[in-house]
């Protein structure tokens, strides 16, 4: 997948665990793990909105593009 998810860096910066983030954005830990490991096929704007709100960042800080 050419789109990468950079959740780890932001979590580290905010000193937050994945479990804590899952509770704050109201999605399951399993789904957040799927997103973190790059196994998700798509992301809802509502999820992206919640992640940006809780991690205090822009969508571009969470997502990256790596050419194949």
């Amino acid at each position: 997948m050419a789109i990468t998810v950079k959740l780890d860096d932001r979590l580290h910066d905010k000193r937050m665990t994945l479990t804590e983030l899952a509770e704050r954005v109201d999605i399951t830990l399993a789904n957040l793990s799927i997103l973190k490991t790059g196994k998700a096929k798509a992301i809802r704007f509502s999820t992206l909105h919640a992640l940006c709100r809780e991690l205090d960042c822009q969508p571009g800080d969470l997502l990256g593009y790596a050419p194949d």
Binding site: I27, N31, L32, I34, A40, K41, A42, I43, R44, T47
Partner: protein
């Protein structure tokens, strides 16, 4: 979250009704199969003699064909009900938009077509005047139209379910 699922009374009643129909049809099919086998024994003459006179002279070939077609229709009906039961089960498991259900609905459509074909053959065998009148009766035409509509609905629903399954697959990896 929808309440449709395991505790839905409609699904529970459907399950019981379909199960009862399957049992009745299987019993009828077994009786007809017994009669079919008996037709091949010396009991044949006695059996043919008991048929009502107004149906005309009956040969063992014609009666045997009718019995075989009726058994085939009952088996088709049982297969139809089995698929319907599995669809009900998939709703109870909250997983109706499955490509398996699309396959089941398409198969049910073809089973309905097959039933109509068998009815045509039965019409050909039962060539007495009273049957011809029945064929031309308004009720028979309405029944034929209903069967055609049922077939169409089943084929359309099969496509709806296939599209639903594809849409669900697409959503599965969405976070």
């Amino acid at each position: 979250m929808s309440t449709i699922g395991r505790r839905d009374p409609l699904l529970a009643i459907s399950r019981v009704l379909i199960g009862a129909i399957v049992v009745i049809f299987a019993f009828c099919a077994a009786l007809l199969a017994f009669a079919f086998v008996a037709l091949m024994t010396p009991l044949r003459e006695n059996m043919l003699a008991t048929l009502p006179a107004h149906l005309g002279p009956a040969t063992s070939g014609a009666v045997g064909s009718v019995l075989a077609l009726l058994i085939a229709m009952l088996v088709i009906a049982i297969l139809f009900m089995r698929d319907l039961l599995r669809i009900v089960g998939s709703v109870e498991k909250r997983n109706p938009f499955d490509s398996l259900n699309a396959d089941r609905l398409r198969r049910m459509g073809w089973l309905t077509v097959l039933t109509q074909v068998i009815l045509l053959f039965l019409g050909g065998i039962a060539n007495t005047g009273s049957y011809r009148q029945a064929i031309l009766a308004e009720d028979a035409i309405v029944t034929a139209i209903s069967a055609l509509l049922l077939t169409l609905i089943l084929f359309i629903l099969a496509r709806v379910f296939r599209l639903g399954a594809a849409m669900r697959d697409e959503l599965e990896g969405t976070v």
